[in-house]
């Protein structure tokens, strides 16, 4: 596999190259992550109904907070500066070219010409500058975008379409960061409105426009008739084929699937493994698997307090739980076990299976060694009168039922070694609350980011300090100077080989210290009806793109 990320030091990606990519990809758009049978000519018109099982965003502006549900929706009406193609290379989107200075401290972006926000405001350097300021403003309460743009010290508009960014330190992940919907570019005029107004209907350059949002029901998006800014790997130009999208919230997975079967909706996300397996034998329903980039889905072991401040107990826990049997029985072959902190779509991921074998005898030995020698009447281990008990808050919005069942199975196997796991099923806001109060020993917190720099977000000691949204991403709360240094260096190193070596070293430390228990990729399965053609997931954060989609009657 080719190295996925051409480091853009002094590299100039020309607009001509972009056009070539469009032509090339138009011919084989069905190849990569997209659907296979885009039979016939695209048909314009129609309303597509999308049913999401992710939490309903509290704000449609992904700068605010910044979670995956926001990215899913925002990918339809906002666009970032750059994108990524199926080979993992950064390609132009709203920015046509870019250049990094020799010392890595200055970046120059040239924006695409003639692009307008849907409120008529032109896309220019001042607009992008206003967006960076918006993400960095503590008032915005951004988390994901804020962390991604952390190194930008100042921005200046050199001329109408040229933007210069001055960095505090070189940032090898800057382009990857700019490809994410959490830093997508919005109309500066719209950003001047109150946060409440902007949250209800953000204004971007995307192929669709947020028309209406009925809370706890649906978002209505209509086609942007003046659209002219598709990414370099899109299959066509001009406005989208679909006239509108109804973006429905159907949190209950069986209901969502039933609606798809009945033809009431065209596409669903967060599909349950059993329904994916059933769809394999079904001509009407198709499956799109698009694992999210960034971190793998993993349990974080909170090292900031007992009992996981003891590495022996951490290893004992990892050895005590039987993940593999659960994954194979609950996921019907749709999820593969991971042994890496990074998603399998991240080329720099490093795996070490040997550290995570299920070994109850070893778990018991380690716990004895750690001094948890007694057991109480219920069979749980006890030390100094304290039970070996683990608080495990689970966000029901972020875990599909199969995952919650897996956690129950981990609970059952951990009990044999003497661990008590308390599963607390919480809604998203209570779950954030539990994390903020450090009221957890175990937690599963998906984190999506393009590129290996997600390791810095998750395991650098700086990330134990909450972002303006109140969320801190280093949930294992690991604080190691050695690790910090590797991650900082990695984020400043552009040389591919050096960068890979640094991140491998960092991942070794994370895995060998038993700060996490990797489970599988962040599952991102879409099911759609066969009349939907041209559906693909953006290779950046795997959100579905409806720009090239049309409905066969």
């Amino acid at each position: 596999m080719s190295f996925p990320f051409r480091t853009p030091r002094r590299a100039v990606v020309s607009a001509a190259g972009a056009v070539a990519a469009v032509v090339l990809l138009a011919g084989c758009s069905a190849g990569g992550t997209g659907s296979e049978e885009n039979a016939g000519e695209p048909v314009s018109g129609g309303n597509l109904v999308y049913a999401t099982g992710d939490a309903e965003p509290t704000c449609l502006d992904p700068h605010v907070g910044g979670n995956y549900p926001q990215a899913l929706a925002a990918s339809q009406y906002l666009e970032p500066l750059v994108s990524k193609n199926d080979d993992g290379e950064i390609i132009p989107w709203l920015a046509g070219e870019w250049q990094e200075s020799e010392d890595g401290l200055t970046w120059t972006f040239t924006l695409r010409e003639g692009v307008q926000f849907t409120d008529g405001t032109p896309l220019n350097a001042e607009a992008v500058k206003a967006n960076i300021a918006h993400v960095q403003d503590p008032e915005t309460a951004s988390s994901t975008g804020y962390l991604a743009l952390q190194k930008i010290e100042s921005a200046e508009a050199v001329d109408d379409l040229t933007l210069k960014l001055n960095l505090k330190a070189p940032d090898s992940a800057l382009l990857e960061s700019f490809s994410m919907p959490w830093v997508a570019i919005q109309s500066p005029k719209a950003l001047e409105r109150s946060q409440e107004e902007n949250c209800a209907a953000p204004v971007g350059t995307g192929p669709f426009i947020v028309e209406d949002w009925v809370k706890q029901d649906s978002i209505t998006m209509v086609r942007n008739e003046n659209y002219n800014s598709p990414p370099a790997d899109a299959a066509h130009e001009g406005p989208a084929y679909l006239e509108s999208i109804t973006w429905k919230f159907i949190p209950e997975s069986a209901t969502r699937y039933a609606a798809l079967q009945a033809g009431e909706v065209h596409v669903i996300d967060n599909a349950q493994p059993d329904t994916i397996a059933a769809a394999e034998n079904n001509d009407v329903i198709k499956h799109l698997d698009a694992p999210r980039p960034g971190a793998s889905n993993r349990l974080e072991l909170n090292t900031s307090k007992a009992p996981f401040n003891d590495p022996l107990v951490r290893e004992a826990f990892v050895r005590a739980v039987n993940v593999n049997d659960g994954v194979s029985s609950l996921f019907f072959g749709t999820a593969e076990r991971s042994y890496s902190p990074l998603s399998s779509v991240e080329p720099l991921g490093y795996s070490d299976e040997s550290l995570f074998g299920y070994d109850p005898a070893e778990a018991n030995r380690l716990l004895d060694e750690a001094g948890w020698t007694e057991r109480d009447a219920e069979g749980y281990r006890v030390k100094d009168g304290e039970r070996l008990s683990l608080e495990f808050p689970v966000s029901t919005n972020q875990s599909i039922p199969a995952e919650q069942s897996l956690f129950e199975q981990l609970q059952a196997t951990a009990k044999e070694a003497g661990f008590e796991i308390k599963l607390n099923l919480l809604d998203l806001s209570s779950w954030y609350g539990a994390l903020a109060e450090n009221d957890y020993n175990l937690v599963s917190a998906p984190y999506t980011k393009v590129g290996p720099d997600v390791l810095r977000i998750l395991f650098h000691s700086d990330s134990t300090v909450p972002a303006p949204s109140g969320y801190f991403a280093n949930l294992s709360q690991v604080k190691l100077d050695e690790l910090d240094e590797l991650l900082t260096k990695g984020s400043e190193t552009s040389d591919p080989a050096d960068r890979a070596a640094l991140y491998e070293e960092a991942q070794k430390i994370v895995l060998e210290g038993y700060y996490i228990l990797p489970l599988y990729d962040q599952q991102n399965h879409f099911l759609y009806r066969s009349e939907v053609s041209g559906l693909r997931a953006l290779p950046t954060v795997s959100t579905p793109a409806f720009y090239d989609v049309w409905l066969n009657s």
């Binding site: 059993d274 199969a402 129950e408 199975q409 599963l423 607390n424």
Partner: protein, 318 residues
């Protein structure tokens, strides 16, 4: 003393028979016939003894189900072949078979064993919630029925406000404030059923209070406490047992609803509502995961209703 004054409280017609709407089972509760002082205390028992032979088939069936449930709740290990919490991923999603009568769930746990073990929490929650509801209602109803016009007015208005909210909503509000868990769901269900019971008890008490027997006791110079405990309460309370039996089934349904919503017993507890919730995800492929816990809930509610009705007929001496 005012509470024992013989002045009839004309403000309350017998509410008992009409107050079934908001969460309390509909029951044509009638007090032990006032005005027959001699037989008062023993009326209920003797009548039901005489009618035991008249049990209908449905009632026998309901009694059998209830007996089985109580047995399951007290001695689950006698009836359940497997450990309800023991997982076995290799055996997951098995349909009903001779080994697993009700099939297995997503973690390979035996559903029959889980349904049996689920009887205890469900019945306990149901019984405890009913006890709380009836207990609270007794206090409120007694205050209202005996406490004089203003107290009666006050309690009456509070009950009306509570009636204005659907019972389950009241329970949800309480859980939102107190946090989910078994104890909170017991209290929540108890609190939300209390107003219905309280209204009936109040009606009973004010009716008995104005009966000739109580009048006689007061005239004879009995102490207030004696009048309350020997004459008023025994006669006002006989319908409460009927109500409680009828209400038990409903409390079980409510408690299961709360668990179904994820507000009751935390995982991995074998609780019927939680099992329903887990199974609904797989409704299309593994119907047995929801069917059997659902049947258990229906049977519990139905048998307690049938038994309650039977008891009611006997107490009422229809």
């Amino acid at each position: 003393m005012s509470i024992f004054s013989n002045k009839r409280n004309h403000q309350d017609p017998v509410l008992a028979g009409t107050s079934g709407a908001a969460g309390t089972p509909d029951v044509a509760a009638t007090p032990g016939t006032p005005g027959a002082p001699g037989t008062m205390g023993t009326l209920g028992p003797t009548r039901s003894l005489r009618r035991v032979s008249g049990l209908r088939a449905v009632e026998l069936g309901a009694a059998a189900v209830a007996l089985f449930l109580v047995l399951a709740a007290c001695f689950p290990t006698l009836l359940a072949p497997f450990d309800p919490l023991a997982i076995n991923p290799a055996d997951s999603f098995q349909g009903p078979s001779s080994k697993h009568w009700f099939g297995t769930d997503e973690s390979g746990r035996d559903i029959y064993s889980r349904v049996i073990h689920g009887a205890r929490p469900s019945l306990l929650i149901g019984a405890a919630a009913t006890a709380i509801g009836v207990g609270l209602a007794l206090v409120l109803g007694t205050l209202a029925g005996l406490g004089g016009r203003w107290l009666d007015f006050g309690v009456g208005r509070i009950l009306e406000v509570l009636f204005a909210l659907p019972g389950l909503l009241l329970a949800l509000v309480f859980i939102a404030l107190a946090g989910p868990g078994i104890t909170t769901s017991v209290v929540a269900v108890g609190l939300s059923t209390a107003p219905g019971y309280a209204r009936i008890i109040r009606g009973q008490i004010s009716q008995v209070r104005s009966s000739a027997m109580v009048e006689a006791a007061v005239v004879l110079g009995r102490r207030p406490a004696q009048v309350l405990f020997r004459h008023i309460l025994p006669n006002a309370l006989s319908p409460v047992f009927v109500l409680g039996t009828l209400g038990l089934g409903q409390a079980v349904v409510w408690a299961s609803s709360l668990s179904f919503l994820g507000l009751g017993a935390p995982p991995p507890a074998a609780e019927w509502g939680a099992m329903l919730a887990a199974g609904r995800t797989y409704l299309g492929t593994a119907w047995w995961m929801t069917f059997f816990p659902g049947v258990a809930i229906v049977l519990t509610a139905a048998s307690s209703t049938v038994l309650g009705r039977a008891l009611q007929r006997r107490v009422a001496g229809r």
